[in-house]
């Protein structure tokens, strides 16, 4: 990696505003020295956007924050310099550093929700930035910034506390706070990770616009290649603290040279095939397979809640089929999963399953009241395997529990063998049985979650956002595993995700939800290629993928429009149902 | 090592400076305490300062004049006539007359007063047997002969209050005493000031202040930090005494044999029904040794005779100490290796040491006593007179007749061992009727012998009361229930 930074000088941009040179950072863990970043170099020019991509833990945030002269406590710089606007950030005195921070270099931290002080009004926090650097800070001025980041009713919203805002709004406040002092350099750390695609699109559009208006230089950190692709001019790929590839975003993300980048790109599921790659065949499915689960007109309410969380839900899952539910946050996806798993009762409607004893069984009861055979037939895999495994129990114990509970094994020896088989089946070894969850990686934990679900020998697996917490490469492995097992055991799967690309790669059929209603459902290909509901279309349009060079223009109105409570579901093609809302293409 | 304990044999004597204020810390009785001497809840430190009795006891236990100048009886001791001191008046100016005496006695006898002395007096007199013959003469007509009758009027409940004052005396404290009440609050602070017109001469002090401090250590601390000059009703243990002696400005005084310690064996209990067992319990220990171990010799051996050695009426002689005999007796009674709990409490600092010392000696005679300590506040309500064996104490200073009748006569309400002996009761009756001083004393001594031989109440030791005081205090005296408030005083301030 010679010639640091040199290759990035680009005639399109002005002077260098930040130079990172041979940066090596490490921290001590016990008696070992762990390197977080090694010999990282890059430059950031006036008006330029540089993307920093890489898997979780690759050191992106660490590097990005050095532009503000910040290190996590315990870390130290072993080598290299960080120069911003001609000043070496790590030799500045406390006062000078404070003057630089916020005024010249600002950061929008990784998680806006947690980076806003909970006890202060958001307006006050923006004001603080202004005041610190001696800028105008009357309420009108603050409201202007809120308006600038396109928050509704700015005067009112700046009076709120952080927890009174949605995730997207918090993100905008964080951005407003950063741009308020008109900094030269802005560091955006995962600005859209916690947001749904539509909000993500809006936030990215905002960043784009602000950059142009204020002529800032931006360092954007993300593990989402699509986001970086859409917004960055140049990209640096970090792998375990080492910059493995750098170059124009267009080149790196369409024609990667480094093997690591290639792997990263290949693992990312896509809605649209990468240029030059064939459109994958839609996953075939036998339409005549017998129905396993059937829900009609299901209403679900949380205990003591005033309104229904899910209304008039309907779904059919056939044996061996994977049905995906997608939809914005709060649309009721998890609620449906919980109701089918029996964590919530069904208030109205019909819900039946053909259980392991081949009899049709009622699913409206909560799990406590279901007969064991039904309980066994429906098993759930949780989003964060980390949290769904009891940290104090060994893996073997966790996996063996359903075996004992559902009397799948009779003796201790048999249990042990079965656990071993299950672990092998999910791609681990028997030795894992003795470990505790803390000793596993995220992907391994998710495999354990799957093994535990399989132990009950279910007929239906419910997978609620099971890959959201995983890195793309791990995610691809887990999805492949799930697919394999499903095939082998003839399982049906209810797959919940907000990532359309992931859904496309696994689902036979897709159900789109919004505000507790199903707005569209049908075969995967029909939904993805021929979306009829305005919301589905907005969802699909918001997706940014590697190689995309500009942001999609999303009609925000579509998203904001509420579902019409009285609308009916209309069958537009064989099995493709669309809700007859305003703007639906029937 | 620490300095050897050298307790002063008695209080400092000397010429006090006239006047001055003395501050006394006392334990707060309870918020129900009163200045009515007849009551069982009287604030007793005040009484000697405020009131006088007809007669009082001297240190030997002899009855001597107080408000009565002289007294006489008829031949069979059924009628007693008291001639009163002339020219005495109460603090409010009201002259003191025989009517006040009659009124006081009736007040004591009144069931509503619930006076502890009522029972004793009622066996001899009733409301219509007290006559104010004239202003200076009171006559008591007894139901039964009693040659020791005057001594019964030395009790501190018998302080004379002015006629018609029963309802108010509890807070006004109007008496004839050397001091008059200045302020008073139950369980709180109060003070008395000198009565310049006191018939027996002006007291040394100008003023005495009383403060109530419940916690013993806190009381001692108040003395050590010179907040007070004297601790009343605070018998100090050895350690505290040393600290007080060793500290700047404070010392201790000894009141010889002021504490009468008893170990009542409940005569109605299955353990001690048998006189043989009781006898063994006595023979098994040596009073002198116990005196040394329990209270470092600061007192006298009791040898189970309840009459303190300071009193002239004490029977001479000493019961034997014979642990082997004790063992044999127990065997005979079929109580070999007797096992019983001995109760004690922090109520008084020496109860536990006495229990420990006694148990140690009893072990040598094969008696196994398990020491059981009970919280101080329920000791006299839940243990006393209900557990077979405990350690208890009284103040000495009762006249011999009252002592024997009150604590040992069958059925008396203070009979803490529930002991009953017909012959003993008869001896007491005949003593009372005996007008001959010498033969009467002999009879009282016979009675003592019966207690020593058969009684259920052991008297292991008499203890000196060790009183903490400022080293400026001189002429501190206390005997019976009487403080000598007349002569006590403070040395002139040296600086």
């Amino acid at each position: 990696m010679s010639q640091p930074g040199a290759s990035l000088i680009d005639s399109r941009f002005g002077e260098q505003v930040a130079v990172v040179q041979d940066l090596t950072i490490s921290y001590r863990a016990g008696d070992r020295n762990v390197v977080v970043a090694q010999d990282v170099s890059f430059t950031l020019n006036e008006g330029e956007t540089v993307g920093l991509v890489g898997e979780s833990g690759s050191g992106k945030s660490t590097v990005a924050r050095t532009l503000l002269g910040h290190l996590r406590p315990g870390s130290k710089i072993d080598n290299g310099t960080v120069t911003v606007l001609g000043r070496d950030m790590f030799t500045l005195g406390e006062r000078e550093l404070r003057d630089m921070r916020g005024r010249q270099v600002a950061i929008v931290p990784q998680n806006a929700g947690q980076s806003l002080t909970p006890s202060m009004r958001v307006g006050g926090q923006i004001q603080e930035s202004l005041k610190l650097h001696g800028l105008r800070h009357d309420p009108a001025r603050i409201a202007e910034f809120a308006d600038l980041v396109r928050l509704p009713t700015p005067e009112e919203i700046i009076q709120r506390y952080p927890h009174e805002l949605s995730g997207g709004q918090q993100q905008r406040i964080a951005i407003a706070m950063a741009i308020a002092t008109d900094p030269q350099v802005m560091v955006l750390d995962e600005p859209t990770t916690a947001l749904d695609v539509i909000t993500q699109g809006a936030v990215l559009a905002l960043i784009q616009e602000l950059r142009e208006r204020l002529n800032m230089s931006i360092l954007i950190v993300s593990h989402d290649l699509g986001v970086v692709s859409a917004i960055a001019d140049n990209v640096i790929v970090l792998n375990k603290g080492v910059a493995t590839e750098r170059g124009a975003a267009r080149d790196v993300l369409t024609a990667p040279r480094a093997a690591y980048t290639k792997r990263l790109l290949a693992a990312a599921p896509r809605l649209h095939p990468a240029p030059g790659e064939p459109e994958p065949e839609p996953i075939p499915f036998d339409d005549h397979a017998p129905t396993l689960l059937r829900c009609v007109g299901v209403d679900i309410r949380y205990p003591r809640a005033i309104s229904l969380a899910v209304r008039n839900f309907q779904i059919d899952i056939r044996e061996g089929e994977t049905v995906a539910i997608v939809g914005e946050s709060g649309s009721g996806k998890s609620t449906v999963a919980h109701a089918i798993a029996g964590l919530l009762g069904v208030e109205h409607g019909e819900a039946v399953i053909t259980a392991a004893d081949h009899r049709s069984q009622d699913l409206r009861q909560p799990v406590r009241k279901r007969p064991p055979v039904v309980r066994r037939s429906v098993q759930m895999i949780f989003q964060n395997a980390d949290l769904a495994l009891n940290p104090r129990r060994s893996i073997g114990d966790s996996v063996a529990r359903p075996l004992r509970l559902f009397k799948r094994t009779r003796s201790r020896v048999e249990t042990k063998q079965r656990v071993g088989t299950l672990l092998t089946e999910v791609g681990l070894t028997e030795q894992f049985a003795r470990r505790v969850p803390g000793q596993l990686s995220g992907g391994q934990r998710q495999r354990i979650g799957i093994a535990r679900a399989l132990a009950a020998e279910p007929r239906l697996l419910i997978a609620d956002e099971i890959t959201t917490a995983l890195d793309v490469s791990v995610q691809a492995d887990v999805l492949r595993l799930l697919d394999e097992l499903q095939e082998r055991h003839g399982l049906s799967c209810l797959f919940i995700s907000h990532d359309l690309a992931v859904v496309k790669s696994v689902a036979h059929r897709i159900v789109v939800m919004k505000e507790g209603y199903v707005v569209e459902s049908g075969p995967a290909a029909a939904i993805l290629d021929d979306p009829r509901h305005p919301y589905t279309r907005a969802l699909l349009d918001s997706v940014v993928e590697p190689g995309v060079e500009r942001l999609p223009s999303v009609d925000i109105e579509q998203r904001v429009r509420r579902v019409d409570a009285s609308a009916a579901m209309v069958d537009v093609a064989s099995g493709h149902l669309v809700r007859a809302d305003v703007g639906a293409d029937l | 090592g620490a300095p050897p304990l050298t307790l002063p044999e008695s209080a400092a004597r000397g010429e006090p400076a006239l006047g001055g204020t003395m501050r006394i810390a006392r334990p707060a009785a309870s918020a129900a305490e009163t200045l009515d001497p007849a009551s069982s809840l009287s604030a007793y430190e005040y009484l000697g300062a405020l009131y006088n009795r007809l007669v009082k006891l001297d240190i030997k236990g002899n009855t001597i004049p107080d408000l009565a100048a002289e007294w006489s009886t008829n031949s069979d001791a059924t009628q007693w006539v008291f001639k009163l001191r002339a020219g005495v008046s109460f603090h409010n100016g009201q002259p003191f007359t025989a009517r006040d005496v009659r009124y006081t006695i009736l007040h004591i006898l009144d069931p509503d007063t619930a006076s502890p002395q009522a029972e004793t007096l009622l066996t001899m007199i009733g409301p219509n047997r007290v006559d104010a013959v004239d202003d200076q003469t009171v006559r008591f007509r007894l139901k039964t002969p009693n040659a020791e009758f005057p001594s019964l009027l030395t009790a501190y409940q018998c302080y004379i209050i002015p006629q018609g004052s029963a309802a108010t005396i509890g807070s006004t404290g109007i008496g004839t005493g050397p001091f008059r009440l200045d302020s008073y609050r139950p369980a709180g602070a109060g003070s008395v000031v000198v009565n310049e017109d006191y018939f027996d001469g002006r007291p040394v002090l100008d003023r005495i202040e009383f403060f109530a401090i419940q916690d013993t250590s806190a009381r001692v601390n108040s003395l050590l930090s010179s907040q007070v000059d004297l601790l009343s009703q605070t018998n100090m243990d050895d350690a505290t005494a040393r600290v007080v002696i060793g500290s700047r400005g404070t010392t201790v005084a000894r009141v010889p044999d002021a504490q009468w310690y008893t170990i009542p064996m409940l005569a109605t209990s299955k353990e001690f029904k048998d006189p043989t067992v009781r006898r063994a319990m006595k023979l098994c220990y040596d009073s002198e040794t116990l005196l040394q171990t329990a209270i470092q010799g600061t007192g006298s051996g009791g040898w189970d005779n309840p009459v303190p050695p300071t009193m002239a009426a004490r029977a001479p002689g000493q019961r034997p100490y014979d642990p082997d005999r004790a063992r044999a007796l127990l065997k005979r009674a079929g109580k070999d290796g007797l096992q019983v709990a001995i109760y004690t409490s922090a109520y008084e600092p020496n109860l536990t040491p006495i229990a420990i010392a006694y148990a140690e000696q009893a072990r040598k005679a094969g008696i196994d006593l398990k020491i059981t300590s009970v919280s101080a506040d329920s000791y006299y309500t839940s243990v006393w007179m209900s557990k077979p064996l405990m350690v208890s104490y009284w103040y000495t200073g009762r006249p011999v007749d009252q002592l024997l009748n009150q604590v040992f006569r069958s059925g008396s309400s203070y009979n803490e061992s529930a002991w009953s002996n017909k012959r003993f009761d008869q001896v007491l009756d005949s003593a009372r009727a005996d007008t001959n001083e010498t033969s009467r004393r002999a009879k009282y001594q016979d009675a003592q012998q019966i207690i020593v031989d058969d009684g259920a109440d052991m008297t292991p030791i008499f203890g000196d009361r060790i009183v903490g005081l400022s080293d400026r205090v001189v002429n501190y005296d206390e005997y019976g229930f009487e403080f000598d408030y007349l002569n006590i005083g403070l040395k002139a301030q040296s600086q």
Partner: protein
């Protein structure tokens, strides 16, 4: 666990914690071995040797009854330790159970339990103790039960606080979705995950119980004289502090060593097990 892992996890605990544990262990061992180690009978008085200073015969001198201070100090921890182990065990076990139940049965059961706990906590602990001891006398068992009764609500509250997030954790939801019964969920899923809180609570409670026992003895409601007990020793000897200081100082030091040790151990243990002390109210 192999020796190597034991050693490794011991060193993970940190020096300070180990010192704390050592302080506790030493005190406990001395108390247990006191019959062997004590040069004298702790209750045998000796009138001739009262209030002596340090000497070869009596290393820490004697008290007012001529009893050997060293022997009494060695014995003196026994009562406090026994009471504290018993009382702490009872109150932590009971409190953890009640707290876990309250956390498990959210809703009115939780509400009712909380109200009752609060009502008990609302009356000062000393008052409860004084009342109980007055009613039943001050036997060892009475004190144990009284202290346990007074501390159980506080432990229950802490446990409830710790168990509530666990009840909401994904693995409990997972167990519920499997259709597990209440008891297995509490025992298998909840308890192991609040064990650290409970352990630290145990150590802290033990500290407070020891201090409380000595306070009770001091107030005259605890150990019966002439038995040796630190609180009682302080009470008995404090007036003689100036004349024979060791009589008071040695029980104070012994008490402080034990309590500091327990505190250090609890702190270290908490850090090691990841218990956030700040989140736990100190009741």
């Amino acid at each position: 666990m192999s020796l190597a892992t034991t050693v490794r996890s011991a060193s993970d605990l940190g020096l300070v914690t180990l010192v704390g544990i050592a302080m506790v262990v030493i005190t406990v061992v001395l108390a247990v071995l006191s019959p062997v180690l004590s040069p004298y009978d702790p209750i045998a008085s000796n009138a001739d040797a009262a209030l002596m200073g340090s000497s070869w015969a009596h290393w820490l001198g004697t008290d007012a009854y001529g009893r050997d201070v060293l022997s009494r100090t060695l014995y003196g921890g026994r009562f406090a330790l026994v009471v504290s182990v018993l009382a702490t065990t009872i109150c932590v076990a009971l409190g953890a159970l009640i707290g876990a139940l309250a956390a498990f049965y959210e809703g009115w059961i939780d509400g009712a339990i909380t109200r009752v706990l609060d009502a008990v906590l609302a009356v000062p602990a000393v008052l409860w103790l004084l009342l109980i001891v007055s009613v039943f006398g001050s036997g060892t068992w009475v004190i144990v039960v009284a202290i346990a009764a007074v501390y159980t609500p506080a432990v229950a509250r802490v446990t409830r606080g710790a168990a509530r997030p666990v009840m909401r954790s994904a693995y409990v939801v997972a167990a519920q979705s499997r259709g597990e019964m209440s008891l297995p969920i509490i025992v298998r899923e909840v308890f192991p995950n609040i064990l650290d809180t409970i352990l630290v609570e145990y150590a802290m409670r033990a500290c407070w119980v020891i201090l409380l026992v000595s306070t009770l003895s001091f107030l005259g409601f605890g150990v019966n004289p002439p038995n040796p007990d630190w609180g009682l020793m302080i009470q008995e000897n404090r007036t003689a502090l100036v004349v024979a200081p060791m009589g008071t100082l040695s029980p104070i030091i012994a008490l402080a060593v034990l309590v500091v040790g327990l505190n250090l151990a609890a702190d270290g243990l908490g850090k090691y097990l990841g218990v956030d002390r700040a989140m736990r109210g100190v009741a």
